[in-house]
């Protein structure tokens, strides 16, 4: 296995209403990297990451950990790439935290005992072991985000994709999330508008514009080039 975890070539996608969301995207993610995807709303960032584990299927080639993303390989691909959604509320649908975190491992064929052990370990990793038996809707936004990440970590993925991870989080929650992500060894893709967060976490960035990657490079460089910094 080489150091390339994700390879995308000429990815195009059009929604049913005719909107052309991706117009030929080329992208690579290497082992150990954290890449921020920047760009305006509607520029294709989220549509792009939904292709990485086959939730959307467009034209072009997408390869994850050596597996072409197609119907046959979906279980292998989804085992290797964990997608953390913007709104954790939509990801935490089981009645208790432990059941939710164990959802992925059970789907991948682990026994109840193995899935429980994986779930408990993942909850420990994100510092939420004490919440195992709580109902998800009793958790704060930051806690929900941690549990959502635990639900992905329990599947033991090689790649983490986080869509707007700092949304709904207060500054301490954002710091705490950044510390957690920095500890995790997986390669990461961060879809974000939060430039300070992207600067702190990412080794490089890709800037999306009108369905293509307009430029790649250091976060600071892209922020200057596209005038993408926060106010002030």
């Amino acid at each position: 296995m080489t150091g390339t975890l994700i390879e995308v070539r000429g990815l195009r996608f059009r929604y049913d209403d005719g909107t052309e969301a991706l117009r030929g995207v080329d992208f690579c993610l290497h082992r150990g990297e954290t890449v921020a995807l920047l760009g305006a709303n509607g520029s294709g960032k989220t549509t792009f990451v939904l292709h990485l584990n086959g939730l959307l299927t467009g034209e072009g080639e997408v390869t994850v950990c050596g597996f072409p993303v197609n119907r046959k390989n979906l279980p292998e691909v989804r085992r290797r790439i964990g997608l953390v959604f913007q709104d954790s509320e939509s990801q935490l649908f089981m009645p208790s935290v432990i059941e939710d975190v164990a959802f992925g491992p059970l789907n991948h064929g682990l026994s109840t005992a193995e899935a429980t052990a994986r779930a408990r370990k993942a909850l420990e990793t994100v510092g939420m072991a004490a919440a195992a038996d709580r109902a998800p809707y009793h958790l704060s936004a930051g806690e929900k985000k941690r549990v959502a990440i635990a639900g992905i970590l329990a599947m033991d993925p090689e790649i983490l994709v986080l869509d707007e991870p700092t949304t709904f989080l207060d500054p301490p929650g954002q710091r705490s999330l950044a510390e957690l992500l920095a500890r995790l060894p997986q390669a990461k893709i961060l879809v974000t508008h939060d430039i300070p967060f992207a600067q702190a976490m990412s080794s490089r960035a890709a800037f999306f514009r009108e369905g293509t990657i307009a430029a790649e490079g250091a976060v600071d460089e892209l922020v200057r080039r596209f005038n993408w910094g926060p106010l002030g």
Partner: protein, 242 residues
């Protein structure tokens, strides 16, 4: 939110809570049949069953008064039909309707207050209930709170823009309410799509697997036998003796 209270109650550790969900579901079903098919001496039977349910509530270490009051929520629906029966000259039917619906609601309330929803649904699945229906119930239970919160936010937004200030006509209020319901539906639909995507992303392939594993113990069998027989015996005794 009522279901938050029930969820808290369902996490108790009493002997009733620990019983197998299949046994409790079957016992509840037996109780409902006993009540629904009763015609003679209904007030006496209803009183005895009410005392029995209160006894189970105490055994489950649940607060009796709040449980009794919560079960009464169902009366807001049945009282309309009871009133119609009363007005049409059948007061016995009206009383029967109220008593039966209240006791049925109380029994079901006890079932969901002493069994965590995931365990209950798993038990129902093992009893042969359609999996799709159970999934719908589970998601409804999980997201009722979220949808309700969204509705409250929309109401607050409407109020902050002067809704309810008394200047709006009935027609414009209805239009606003219709728009709010449509927006809520669209949001719920969007959330459902997000939930489905997040399930697929974690390997969901159509079969719902859970951590729960059920084992029937001797205590479950005894509890089930008693829970089924007691209401039947109560009915037989009352119908023969009073």
């Amino acid at each position: 939110m009522h279901h938050v209270v029930l969820e808290r109650w369902s996490r108790g550790t009493s002997a009733v809570h620990r019983r197998d969900p299949r046994v409790k579901a079957l016992a509840t079903l037996a109780f409902l049949i006993v009540i629904a098919t009763a015609h003679r001496q209904l007030p006496w039977l209803a009183t005895a069953c009410f005392v029995l349910l209160c006894g189970v509530t105490l055994a489950a270490r649940l607060p009796v008064r709040p449980a009794v009051l919560r079960a009464g929520i169902v009366l807001s629906f049945t009282v309309v039909f009871a009133a119609m029966s009363w007005i049409s000259g059948d007061p016995a039917r009206a009383v029967s309707l109220l008593l039966k619906s209240y006791l049925s609601a109380f029994a079901v309330l006890l079932l969901v207050s002493t069994t965590r929803i995931s365990v209950l649904l798993h038990g129902m699945e093992r009893l042969g209930a359609p999996r799709f229906l159970l999934m719908v119930v589970q998601f409804l239970y999980r997201y009722l709170f979220v949808i309700s919160e969204e509705a409250q936010h929309m109401r607050a937004a409407a109020l902050s823009r002067g809704a309810g200030a008394g200047h709006a006509t009935r027609r414009s209020r209805l239009q606003a309410a219709g728009g709010a319901v449509a927006a809520l539906f669209a949001r719920s639909y969007g959330r459902a799509e997000d939930i489905h995507r997040s399930m697929l992303a974690r390997g969901f392939s159509g079969e719902f697997r859970t951590l729960e594993s059920l084992r029937l113990s001797a205590a479950d069998v005894w509890f089930g036998t008693l829970a089924v027989l007691v209401p039947i015996l109560i009915r037989i005794v009352i119908e023969r003796s009073v």
